[in-house]
Symmetry: C2
Subunit: 154 residues, 2 copies
DNA sequence: GTTGAAACAATGTGGCG
DNA sequence: CGCCACATTGTTTCAAC
């Protein structure tokens, strides 16, 4: 668990904005030889600073004509209940991502579904049917935008 | 705007789960020659089915010790007001992603900040100070999990 | 961290089903 | 017309410095 120097940050910032940058170009941008640069990138992966790279796809083209944010409140908040809910929902086809939150709701589920009926069935079959679920609220998602800048602090 | 065949779906599903898969291995998995496979992937990019690939980094290691979901309600909902808010907030360091939603709230902002004071200042300076903002609610985000399965429908 | 060479993968062209 | 095999180009990777 080493600290990150300015070169590491420069590499992360560049890759965050342009994840497909090849190693040679990246090395130029951060002022390193290709091999040194490559080693740093590998290290950032190994140390878990770069967790993964994710594909961003057009949900519409995959038949996901509706996206929604489903807010879920549980009635029990022990570790097993919370972890079990998260684990089970993460592997459903509909769920894109899960935010585990504090405050009024315990989870925000970003889902992609083909139509309104499917959304209703998903909420009934995968959420409200679970005994630990206390409250569910669903909001339509028009659009998701992802920042292209690394949220980094000194 | 062509339809996707089963091979396209197989490629997308494989890349969604393992985005770093090289073309040769991908071709094997979907039963195509490397060059044909490569052409398909290129086409999926060009047609906008694959929008981009994003880096997933450890916020903690970047000094983002607190993540939060900030729900924002506007007082005006004309296109310019909504687009302006989204555009301005997307380029702040703190914001990781923005969900434009229907229902009670207009936006959900996923933010990463170094500490609670910074979060408070961000909300004051970038959000409540804007005249079109009507209501703000902030919830702590403990954890974000992203699905490794493509949300695809026939 | 750098350099340079070997191994490898990505891309373009031409031929086959 | 889409798929495959080969050749070219370029990138990754590993040695020695």
């Amino acid at each position: 668990m080493r600290g990150l120097d300015t070169t590491d940050i420069a590499i992360l910032a560049a890759l965050y904005t342009q994840p497909d940058l090849n190693n040679k170009t990246l090395a130029e941008q951060v002022g390193l030889a290709p091999s040194s640069c490559h080693e740093r990138v590998k290290r950032l992966h190994n140390e878990g600073v770069i967790i993964s790279t994710q594909l961003h796809v057009d949900m519409e083209r995959l038949g996901g004509h509706i996206q929604a944010m489903v807010a879920v409140r549980l009635s029990a908040h022990d570790r097993n209940t919370v972890a079990g809910f998260q684990r089970d929902l993460l592997v459903t086809t509909e769920v894109v991502s899960i935010y585990h939150t504090g405050g009024e709701n315990d989870f925000l589920l970003h889902v992609s579904v083909p139509n309104a009926l499917h959304l209703r069935d998903f909420v009934f079959d995968q959420i409200t049917s679970r005994q630990e679920v206390n409250h569910v609220e669903t909001a339509l998602v028009y659009d998701v935008k992802v920042s292209q800048q690394l949220p980094v602090y000194p």
